[in-house]
Amino acid sequence: MAITSFLFVPPAFSSTPGIGTLLCQICLLHFSLSLSPSLSPSMAAWDLSVTVEDLGPDTPPVSLSVTSDLHVGGVILKLVEKTQIKRDWSDHALWWEQKQCWLLRTAWSLEKYGIHADARLHFMPQHKPLKLGLPNGITLRLHACYSSPVFQTVMHICRMLNIRHPEELSLLRPIEEKKKKKDKDSTEEIYDLTEVPLSSGTIHSFSTSRPCLYNGMPAHFADSPQMEAVYKMLSVTQPPPAPEVIAKQYRPASVVDKAHINGRWLDSSRCLMQQGIQENDRLWLRFKYFTFYDIEPKYDVVRLTQLYEQARWAILLEDIDCTEEEMMLFGALQYHISKVSQSEPQMLSSSAAMDDLESALQSLEVKMEGESSSASEMLVETLFICFRPKRLTLKGYKQYWFKFQDTSISYFKSKEESIGEPIQQINLKGCEVAPDVNMAAQKFLIRLLIPAPEGMNEVYLRCENEQQYAQWMAGCRLASKGKSLADNSYQSEIQSIHSFLAMQKTNSSSHGNAPANDESINTHSLVSPRYHKKYKAKQLTPRILDAYQNVAQLSLTDAVMRFIQVWQALPDFGLSYIVVRFKGSRKDEVLGIAPNRLIRIDLGVGDVVKTWRYNNMKQWNVNWDIRQMAIEFEGNVNIAFSCVTADCKIVHEFIGGYIFMSTRSREKSDVLNEELFHKLTGGHEAL
């Protein structure tokens, strides 16, 4: 019985230097030694065959005459001499196929490794190209380390991509795409990062420290235009996907479906080769632990962008459930984010008005003129108004001369009488504004719910045309938030109303092809397929516009942060599901693993039946023989379960990983405590 218990004991061993450097040293050492050929007489020499990848796939294995006390470094040296190829071999190492392990300890003898003549060894580089699917859906080709634990491989990758806190991410096997036709795969654009030199060394200090930037990006991206393009792809959000693209993707339909994806995570404590990942295979890079530590928009451009992309796809593919209202807000934020990121991203942060004298003067001017009604902060027009309409006919509307000033609208019998007292003045501060627009029917109504001591008064304003509507609607929106028409957001508000109207126009006329033109985003691109069926695009537009008015002022970073926050506030946020069988139970149930707790979901009831928090957890054990996990909580609460949709190592790693995440804090040193991670998440090897 192999039972691993996870109590907390200080790690006993200290970290070893980078494998590459170690190898180099040993090679040098043995170069000098090999000058005096010495085979110990007591040992019999035998033939060891090694496949050298660099000689090509069809070349037969190289045969070496060795003795059992020869160390691995010596083998490599012989091999290199025999191939007679001059190149940098420092990244190469021996891979033992049968045992599925690297022979990285070059000082160990063949005997110590237990290698005999039947061993099939491969001599190959430790870093090989890997196709990496990013959270934004784009594939990147880069050199990854196939010999170090995945945890470290991810650290390397994140360092290359400039993502801080790599411990929150991991690699998983992608979901196989059903290839109906031989379509786009060949044309799929792959960004190539394989040219980036492998930077060895200070991985540790990188994990949380701030990278120094060159031209606003890490130095290795500033080398060439191609590299800059890669950085742009990493750090700028992708335009909304076409609705068909969303519809084509796999969507989990149930909790059990959602559980399956978690069986795909790679084991962080073993290397890629050991997990059957071959050169040029495809893996996904995803945020795995949903505790995002120390987000710093200034340094986390790529991290935030990719996090946003992952969140966006989780919403669009209904990986996480939300309500219709929340979906509309997500839609509005996506629209806003894509709009601002397509325009000048640098311009966004400058919203600090009043700072310079210019704007102060301007503002003063406006204020002074405000008393004498300047055109810039007043709207005057003939509109129709209707109070408490009984039916939605145009019957109840009467025409008046309207004046919009500050946050109030007043109306008069006619233009001539507008010097005197208005018939009524309505202050819009705190009111609710809703559109009622039908482009096809040329209906432009503004519905106002105006609070009064007696309740809300419902008022409709009818505009003649799009232009008029956009101006008055924008005014009403600002006024409802206590801003006047002089506010500098007035013009942009008008703009966004126009562009939403334009969306409605294109949606109603031509349906289907949704080019990336900013003016004509198909609103179906912003919501999950469920709403494609439920609403037509033109029905969706006003709903999203409605939500949009609350976020239209946000800067790009703020909008991205807001999206992530709203996502985090969803009740099911951060839950990773695994189908398990509890001890003593005869049916499958679902275990939900969250950053701070475990939940048990009864599939019959479809609801959470039990919650256990990590801070009440005393210890957990893994019985590797029967693949069972047992957890003990305070108050003599014990649970045990076996895992159905994922290996118990994955579950074990999830729990240990979250415990690890909770140990991070600012007071402690910035160095990522890799060993504690392995201690908490590793299997037998770690003990």
Partner: protein, 571 residues
């Protein structure tokens, strides 16, 4: 009981109210403000919005009553500024323009004992500042439960204002003939979620387990829910009774609270998020407790809460009435809604309130022992404690009504100057108060008894309750008492306390606070350091203790910590 009165009707107020008001008003008329305001044409015709309570009138009248002193001091300075830079002037002018538009209300606040206090509240003041003001005036223990509440007798509603809210805005929604009141009360439920987060975030667990929860676990709960990138709303779900529109009947529905609003499960549907129907979102509504709804609306129980737009003051179909089975559920929902609506502000308010309480408790602890000493020494000590006032003080105390204004220029030349240079609008109130305090301060020594119920001389009432305590305190710790009095806004206090530790704080103290006041909520650091001194009034402090903050307990987290530390040691 009506709170809002236009200044013209000031003479209708009682005497002591008037005095209090005068003090406030005078404070408002900072000399510089006055001049600048006069300069700008736009000033005299202030904002149309403030029409119901014309602030300019009092201002101008006050100005006329004591024109000589301020102008002298101010006009030269102003010319200087002009000479300096036009730009400066314009910026300043802008500030003043805003100033001129500031709306001010006279608010009558009902105390627990049935008495009342009248204060002047300006548009920019938030509830926290008003509470601090009341702390000075009432000499209460300043604990975090003290709240300002608004009641609406017609609808039988009440709610506590949140500390970050501006007070004037909600009060402006009241009707002229409103019977609404503002109360100053201890309301335990206001910050209960921070004292016992488990009752809200783990409400499903059995009550016994919740009672025994460790402080460290409470800390973790607060960390998790209030200190992350996103505020987490307690996951509330349950059957509530909803009053049907326009009817007296109540029907049951399964409601769910989410960060984005309240939802219900439509009949025959599952609880899955996508099927939920939005009942209401929080942008435009406040949450109120309903009183005695069983009788009024035939509610199933008296544990009701209400959601409505703050402007709605009478019965309307736009008011949503909800009824819970018990008080606990009601508090869960009301608190949950507040968290969803106000988010992190709520927690920040709490931290500020807690600091306030802690500072105060230091002071209380010190003062109790020393207060046994005769109050005689106090006058002598006072002088060192408050260096700035002495010179001008005597003059002022002799002639109260006019004095305060004189004082401004004479006593505190630096503050006005500072203002000219950096015109942050929030400044005036604090500064006004501080000059004011000294005069009041001097006379009190004799009337040691006068605090709380007995406002001895009208004037002393506004800002002078503490003097008695003061005297005793001075010996050990002079500063704490004055700071509330002197500079009501949070920023100054810390400065003062900090300075107070060494015996005689030299003159500088007042000016720095004035500048510090530019940063509205500054007390963070200083008070933090002070807080550690007292025994332990607020046990759960704040972020410093993080997960497994090193407590000795044999629990999981602390073991981890030990492991980590050892590990680091190894390296």
């Amino acid at each position: 009981m009506i709170v809002i009165q236009p200044p013209e009707s000031l003479h209708e107020l009682e005497d002591n109210d008037l005095d209090a008001l005068m003090a406030d008003l005078v404070a408002d008329l900072n000399a510089t403000e006055e001049k600048l305001a006069a300069e700008i044409k736009g000033l005299k015709t202030p904002s149309p919005t403030t029409s119901d309570l014309p602030p300019p009138t009092p201002a101008s009248s006050a100005a006329s009553s004591l024109p000589p002193p301020p102008p002298q001091n101010a006009k030269p300075t102003k010319e200087e500024i002009e000479a300096q830079m036009k730009a400066d002037k314009i910026k300043l002018a802008l500030e003043k323009l805003k100033e001129a538009k500031v709306k001010k209300l006279v608010v009558k606040v009902l105390m627990n004992d049935g008495s009342s206090k009248t204060l002047m509240v300006d548009e920019r003041q938030n509830v926290r500042e008003v509470l601090d003001n009341l702390f000075e005036k009432t000499h209460c223990d300043c604990n975090v439960d003290w709240s300002l509440c608004e009641t609406n007798p017609e609808l039988q509603l009440d709610r506590t204002f949140e500390d970050h809210e501006n007070l004037v805005e909600p009060l402006s929604a009241w009707m002229r003939d409103s019977e609404n009141q503002v109360l100053f009360q201890e309301r335990g439920e206001k910050y209960e979620v921070f004292k016992n987060p488990q009752n809200f975030y783990l409400w499903k667990k059995d009550k016994r387990a919740l009672k025994d929860i460790k402080d460290k676990d409470k800390e973790i709960l607060i960390q998790e829910n209030f200190c992350g990138t996103s505020i987490i709303v307690p996951d509330l779900e349950g059957v509530l009774h909803l009053k049907e529109d326009g009817k007296k009947s109540w029907k049951q529905r399964l409601f769910q609270l989410r960060a984005s609003g309240i939802y219900y499960v439509p009949k025959g549907k599952t609880k899955s998020s996508r099927d939920l129907v939005c009942f209401l979102q929080f942008d435009n509504v406040n949450v109120y407790y309903g009183k005695d709804f069983k009788t009024k609306y035939k509610a199933p129980t008296d544990f009701c809460f209400v959601l409505k737009h703050p402007q709605i003051q009478k019965e309307s179909q736009y008011i949503k009435y909800l009824c819970c089975d018990d008080a606990r559920t009601m508090n869960l929902w009301v608190t949950g809604i507040r968290i969803a609506k106000y988010g992190v502000s709520l927690y920040e308010n709490y931290k500020t309130a807690e600091k306030k309480a802690a500072v105060n408790s230091v002071w209380m602890n010190r003062s109790t022992p020393s207060s046994s000493n005769p109050s005689t020494p106090s006058p002598t000590i006072k002088d060192p404690a408050f260096p700035p006032p002495p010179p001008s003080l005597p003059a002022k105390s002799s002639s109260r009504p006019v004095a305060p204004q004189h004082k401004l220029p004479a006593n505190f030349p630096p503050p006005p100057m500072a203002m000219d240079n950096l015109p942050p609008p929030p400044l005036p109130p604090p500064i006004d108060d501080s000059p004011e305090a000294p005069p009041d301060f001097l006379p009190p020594p004799p009337p040691a008894a006068g605090f709380g119920s007995l406002p001895p001389p009208p004037l002393s009432m506004n800002s002078l309750p503490p003097p008695p305590h003061f005297g005793g305190m001075d010996q050990s710790l002079p500063p704490p008492p004055p700071d509330p009095e002197f500079l009501p806004p949070p920023p100054p206090e810390p400065v003062f306390t900090g300075a107070g530790a060494p015996p005689p704080p030299p003159p500088p103290p007042p000016p720095p606070p004035a500048q510090a006041a530019a940063v509205p909520r500054a007390p963070v650091r200083p008070s933090g350091s002070v807080r550690k001194v007292p025994p332990a009034p607020p046990k759960r402090t704040t972020p410093s203790l993080q997960v497994g903050g090193g407590g000795g307990g044999g629990d999981f987290m602390s073991e981890l910590m030990v492991a980590m530390q050892k590990k680091r040691g190894d390296h």
